[in-house]
């Protein structure tokens, strides 16, 4: 084999702490290396051209590039090899940036380490095989998990692009957080007016199947062929029959049911349609509040339902959908501020979250758009807004900035003034984060036109005082303590990962960060992909986002799914297991450990043998490690290839 080695400087990223020239020189001494050089940017156009040229000049049949992580540019260089007429698997990378130059300080040690990593790559490459990809059929359908604005956008874009879409929503209605908002910044347009039509589009789109009140139960399969089992939770109402007339809710005697949609500041009935614009507009029963379901008596709803849709005996139902791609758009949840003792820990009725305030502002909310204190229903005059509640605070494990609270607080001060011209808003803030189009102008309007008083500092305590609240804090700009008597305190609670996000990530076999947000394939270059092929991310499940970003990412995820599923077949990864029949003794150990059922026992000349179903094999290699004879070998990661790496590093 003629091997060429290319050692990348990556500008100064590598060359700054690795002597790339010395590494190339060292590589020349390795077995079967006939050409070695260093290059400024191996991945750049001239860098790749240099590789193509060297392949021709030196008749290379294998290439090692020592540069960044293969997770970044392995695919790039494999294409380079293909352009030069080589098989894409006759390529290895030595990761001398993320694993060497960026983490080691000692240049001599880094250089030695880089040279050894190149040696390891060369020895592995010497044992590489020219693998050929096969093809497999795919399901041209996509599942979108989560029906907030990101999921809605993704679903609509996919459906418009011709894909069948299955949209799964945990709540009884799609709409997500946005459907609870009164107005949106910085335009102060009505949230339901812009979201509502999109929700209706979802309901009416012929390519979209909507499963509301449903959750993903399990996922198996792989890109192009996922099998997702969805748990359709019992609504106790036959939704095919329900017309959404609302008679049931009107007659329901259980009228003190906590109202989830209204953030628990109002009450609703045990059977209800969460809000007037709900999609699907179907009633469902809160089993914990329903008198019939808890005590066995009542059944008022069933008596009045004009279509006889009530089903007290309804059970959860599992349906399995075969899809080619999955878009996770599961959004976020709000930080539970009761962790903060200084804000009353939830004991003060008039210390509320911004989302609760949003419901108070909303014309379809429990107060029909009139701002009223939850404690006594009185109209407040002095309102204190506290920002960064559950954001940028290491002490409670939330060191990140939610990013959109500054904006919605500004919006709420504006709306407050609109609702109650005599009111006065005070905002305690740490920094104003408003780096979006028309955003900073918007916060200035709140201060300058709407008279919101911004105080830079933290609140140290809230104390009840004569039916009002004494808010004590610091003004760090003036360097003094401030005390404000407020009728209402609104906390700008931050975003955190949606409950159950970790479990869903495990089902989808994607990664998540320490806070539970799903991990993108690359922070810059693969912001909507994940490390699992065919699974994409949209909206705040990947990290807190405002509405335009969520919509943009929903569209981006849809574009990824559309491009993936635009082909009739997908190329199968040839890095799968294979069984050498002459060595296999048919003991079946591989079959028993395969996580994918990709191994079947066959009979060959009267002897039992294992056989890999290549389109099902995912290439994990569990079988290879279980096979005592070494008959089952994971291609591209064979025992001999890994042993060669071990021997190159130490012998």
């Amino acid at each position: 084999m003629n091997i060429g080695v290319f050692v990348c400087h990556c500008g100064s990223n590598i060359a700054g702490t690795v002597d790339t020239e010395a590494v190339a020189k060292a590589a020349l001494e390795y077995r079967e290396v006939v050409f070695a050089t260093d290059a400024m940017y191996a991945c750049s156009e001239p860098g790749q051209a240099g590789i193509v040229e060297a392949i021709g000049t030196y008749a290379l049949d294998g290439v090692v590039v020592a540069s960044c992580t293969p997770r970044m540019h392995e695919a790039t260089f494999r294409r380079t090899l293909e352009r030069a007429g080589l098989n894409r698997y006759m390529f290895e990378m030595a990761n001398i940036r993320e694993h060497v130059s960026w983490v080691g300080k000692d240049k001599a040690a880094n250089t030695r380490k880089a040279a050894e990593l190149v040696h390891m790559a060369v020895e592995k490459l010497r044992r590489n095989e020219r693998l050929q990809a096969g093809e497999f059929d795919i399901a041209k359908r996509v599942m979108v998990i989560g029906g907030g604005v990101a999921g809605i956008q993704a679903a609509l874009d996919c459906a418009d692009g011709g894909l069948e879409v299955v949209l799964v929503e945990r709540e009884p209605s799609i709409g997500g957080k946005m459907s609870k908002l009164d107005k949106t910044f910085p335009t102060v347009d009505c949230s339901s007016c812009i979201l509502g039509p999109k929700m209706v589009d979802v309901a009416q789109h012929p390519n979209i199947t909507l499963y509301a009140l449903s959750e993903v139960d399990s996922v198996d399969g792989f890109v192009g062929n996922f099998n997702v089992t969805v748990r359709r939770k019992a609504a106790y109402v036959d939704w095919d029959a329900c017309t959404g007339c609302g008679e049931c809710a009107a007659k329901c005697p259980s009228k003190k049911t906590p109202d989830r949609f209204n953030e628990f500041i109002g009450l609703t009935t045990a059977i209800n349609i969460p809000f007037p614009q709900a999609i699907p507009k179907k009633a469902s029963i809160n089993a914990n509040a329903c008198i019939k379901l808890t005590k066995g008596k009542c059944g008022a709803c069933a008596k009045v339902c004009p279509t006889g849709a009530i089903r007290f005996d309804q059970k959860d139902e599992l349906v399995t959908e075969k899809v080619g791609a999955i878009i996770a758009a599961t959004g976020y949840d709000l930080f539970d501020f009761t962790k903060y003792g200084e804000y009353g820990g939830g004991r003060y009725p008039d210390v509320i979250t911004a989302m609760q305030y949003e419901r108070l502002l909303s014309a379809s909310g429990p107060t029909e758009g009139h701002i009223r204190r939850p404690s006594d229903g009185a109209e407040p005059r002095d309102i204190v807004f506290i920002q960064c509640v559950g954001s940028r605070d290491k002490s409670i494990g939330r060191p990140y900035c939610t990013g959109f609270c500054c904006m919605y607080t500004a919006k709420q001060t504006i709306l407050t003034k609109d609702h109650m011209p005599d009111s006065q808003s005070y905002v305690f803030y740490m920094d104003i984060r408003s780096p979006g189009k028309n955003y900073d102008e918007f916060t200035r309007r709140a201060m300058e036109e709407y008279g919101a008083k911004y105080i830079r500092g933290r609140v140290s305590a809230i104390q009840p005082k004569n039916g009002r609240y004494l808010v004590k804090g610091a003004d760090t700009l003036l360097g003094r303590q401030v005390e404000i008597e407020a009728d209402l305190v609104v906390l700008a609670v931050g975003a955190e990962a949606a409950r159950g996000a970790g479990e869903l990530a495990e089902k989808l076999r994607i990664s998540y960060d320490p806070y539970g947000f799903f991990l993108e394939g690359h922070p810059k270059l693969k912001p909507v992909e994940t490390n699992t092929a065919g699974v994409y991310l949209a909206g705040s499940c990947q990290g807190p986002k405002d509405i335009p970003s969520s919509v943009a990412q929903g569209g981006a995820a849809a574009a990824k799914a559309l491009s993936l599923l635009s082909k009739d077949k997908l190329a199968s990864d040839p890095q799968v297991s294979g069984v050498k029949l002459a060595r296999c003794i048919g003991c079946g150990k591989c079959e028993s450990v395969c996580p994918f059922g990709a191994i079947e026992m066959i009979e060959f000349r009267g002897m039992p043998k294992a056989s890999i179903i290549e389109t099902v094999c995912q290439g994990c290699g569990v079988c290879t490690a279980a096979c005592p004879q070494g008959a089952a070998q994971l291609r591209h990661f064979t025992d001999n290839q890994i042993l060669a790496e071990v021997n190159a590093l130490c012998l």
Partner: protein
């Protein structure tokens, strides 16, 4: 034991017409260890021997006889190997007839020869409670079990007669011999790490790479396709380095981890007297502690390395 032998012969005579072969023991070239006997005709039944010299575990022959109806005479420890083969579906239960026996202990021919000086003139061996009696040229010579029996006989749990299709002799617990002689594992544990490495270096320098340890192992199902003699994969090289030979012992131990019943065939077969079961014993001990599993007990279990639990209660992972 004489009556057990008669019972056994009767049972085999009766079953033989329905079987292709029955594997038992008979007198061999060495007076201290009996040889395997493959019985296909009734006339052979008379040659069967049964006494403490029936040391060889015959279970290893069964996978090679797959497809035939085979009877096998088995001590309690041998039955555990059969259980393991059944677990791994390497033999078919309906094709195997197990003739269980009431074993009193099995002679370790190597130590017995050392104790006696020679195997010449040995006519009979009997175990009576705490002593082993060899009749040599008509004279009885007594030894303690620790001197002449296999180490596995200490703490023997006896036969699970339930699995045997026939059982000759008295059911019940075998004799208990008290504490076993010090094992290599215990000796090693008293050494520091480098001494342990040097210990194996010395031991393995004697190894002649005959692979009898593997060939005799009833669970080394790969046999002709053993990784030790393969270039693809190339786990060990062919040089005479003790490191390579120890590497093979590690391969054997890890391949039989959770499967090895400590039948002792590997050490019995080793012509160089190497303590090759030590590694397997160490792994078994850990597997018992961590996975609460012992090989060769229940034919319906799965060996522990071929399954898992999502929450492993006995694994204490390190916090970093």
């Amino acid at each position: 034991m004489a009556s057990s032998l008669d019972e056994l012969k009767t049972a085999i005579r009766k079953a033989l017409p329905g079987l292709d072969v029955v594997i038992a023991w008979t007198a061999g070239p060495d007076a201290l260890s009996h040889a395997p006997l493959f019985i296909t005709e009734e006339a052979d039944v008379a040659r069967i021997e049964w006494d403490p010299r029936c040391s060889q575990n015959l279970a290893g022959y069964l996978p090679g006889l797959r497809g035939k109806k085979a009877g096998i005479v088995a001590k309690g420890c041998d039955v555990r190997s059969i259980v393991e083969l059944l677990q791994e579906k390497l033999i078919d239960r309906e094709d195997v007839v197990i003739f269980g026996l009431d074993c009193q202990g099995a002679v370790d021919a190597r130590s017995a020869r050392a104790a006696l000086g020679s195997s010449r003139g040995v006519r009979d061996v009997a175990i009576d409670g705490a002593s082993v009696c060899f009749s040599v040229n008509g004279e009885p010579r007594f030894f303690s079990p620790g001197e002449v029996l296999q180490s596995k006989c200490f703490g023997c749990a006896g036969a699970d007669a339930g699995l045997c299709d026939h059982f000759a002799g008295e059911r019940g617990l075998p004799p208990q011999f008290g504490n076993p002689p010090e094992s290599t594992l215990e000796r090693l544990e008293a050494m520091d790490m480098e001494e342990r490495l040097r210990f194996w270096e010395t031991q393995m320098s004697r190894c002649i790479r005959c692979y009898a340890c593997r060939s005799a192992c009833p669970l080394c199902v790969c046999q002709d396709h053993c990784a030790a003699q393969s270039r693809e994969p190339h786990w060990v090289d062919q040089t005479d380095h003790p490191r390579e030979k120890l590497m093979f012992q590690a391969i054997h131990a890890l391949h039989t981890a959770g499967r090895c019943t400590e039948c002792g065939e590997c050490e019995r077969a080793c012509p160089m007297g190497l303590p090759v079961m030590t590694l397997k014993r160490a792994l078994n001990r850990r597997i018992k502690d961590v996975f609460d599993y012992q090989a060769g007990i229940d034919p319906n279990q799965t060996p522990p390395l071929f399954e898992f639990r999502e929450v492993e209660t006995n694994i204490k992972e390190r916090e970093w």
